[in-house]
Subunit: 229 residues, 2 copies
DNA sequence: GTGTGTGAAGGGTTTCACAGCA
DNA sequence: TGCTGTGAAACCCTTCACACAC
């Protein structure tokens, strides 16, 4: 039986998800370095600031080119620009929120998204009580009309914060409306057709992993440490 | 140079983080199956419901024992109880929130945490405007007194939703106060000493990974599909 | 026949170690 | 000397395939 879903990416060397996530960390590390007016930075320093190894950092970068100078390190501005290009952060993205509850409201106000160029342009919900109200400066729109709204705002990325029971149905509709990438906070793993990207951000899984760490630690020799994701 | 942090766990066969996270998914799948009054379930069905392979499910479970019956599958109630024991979900956990902003408020109201036995018993903040106010039925306490509060409520797990700039400092203090596991939503990777578990739930990284997926897809042959986490 | 449990194979990611360049 | 870029080795995780139990 074939794996029904996979983490495939469409690139020749096939970049792993882990590498992409680390690039995102390096990107922020470089922003900080630039803010501190550092002109160069070494793989070693990038690694230390992120709890990784220098070899890992160099290997990740090497998939995309040779950005450093031997003996010197990396030019912070150059590397920042290059990683921005790689991740597609040299532009802004219009995004929409689906599900105007507590979590969704918090995300719309989450400054980091805006700072990095992810701009909420549309908020959708299906609760008649909520439709017409506002979050920030966005009026909540009826999910029933999602297709036209998504098209009008040229949105390809959706953030989903609906109850678990509704999530898969909502996502199917979003995909039909042309959404190509989904950040899912509903506490269920949603599945999507090929060509659409999802990230299931399941906080219950994360906290249960902590529960496991505490539980298994006490029982056996408490050797280790643990930063995980 | 050694890896300064690692995802080590303290168990003889050394269970991978990926396996633990899947167990958490299986746990919820079993809850659903039980709610539907199914008496048994096969590895194949658990796999299908989670976008995995049957072999993966069986392998994950085999690290902890032989819970199924050949030819029949798994007894839903038994397996649910067993995974609960493994993950430490056969009990409740007192947890605390640090940072009473939008995100923190949303998490305190997040029903799924309570349902799975993670009970917010304490909310901490250092903003004088917020201290004394309430979230749900919890009054916000001064972070300055975190040590005694954490001890009083016997809390070992903290959920951190403070601004990025404050996160590492706050976490250091929490660790000193006896916290052993941290779910970090601040948009920086925090580092902790051995013996403490962290999960960095960085939503910016996740959305940037989606940006990468969209960016790299257009450029090359758009072969693939994508569920990731 | 059905579906688990598991050693072995396969594939992918991280680490090592060193050549090469400033 | 200092630090990058990278093949090769090591390691880990997933998948395969089949013995075995019901």
């Amino acid at each position: 039986m074939p794996r029904p879903t996979s983490s495939a990416r469409a690139d020749c060397p096939k970049i792993s998800d882990a590498t992409v996530k680390r690039l995102s960390k390096y990107y922020r590390t470089l922003q900080n370095a630039i803010a501190q007016e550092k002109a160069t930075i070494s793989s070693d320093e990038i690694a230390r600031l992120n709890g990784l190894t220098a070899a890992q950092v160099r290997k990740d970068l090497s998939f995309f080119g040779a950005f450093g100078r031997r003996g010197l390190g990396y030019n912070t501005l150059d590397l920042h620009r290059n990683i921005g290009q790689i991740l597609g952060l040299h532009r802004t993205w219009n995004i929409c929120l689906v599900g105007a509850g507590n979590m969704g409201t918090a995300l719309v106000h989450f400054k980091q998204f805006t700072d990095q160029g992810f701009l909420f342009r549309l908020v959708l919900d299906s609760d008649p009580e909520k439709i017409g109200q506002s979050i920030g400066n966005l009026m909540i729109q009826d999910f029933e009309n999602c297709e036209e709204q998504i098209k009008r705002e040229k949105i390809r990325i959706a953030v989903v914060t609906v109850p678990g029971a509704a999530a898969q149905r909502v996502v199917d509709r979003l995909v039909a409306a042309g959404i190509k990438a989904i950040l899912n906070f509903a506490p269920v793993t949603i599945l999507v057709p090929p060509g659409v990207s999802v990230r299931n951000e399941n906080m219950v899984i994360e906290i249960e992993a902590l529960s496991y760490a505490l539980t298994s630690k006490g029982v056996h020799r408490p050797r280790a440490n643990t930063p995980l994701s």
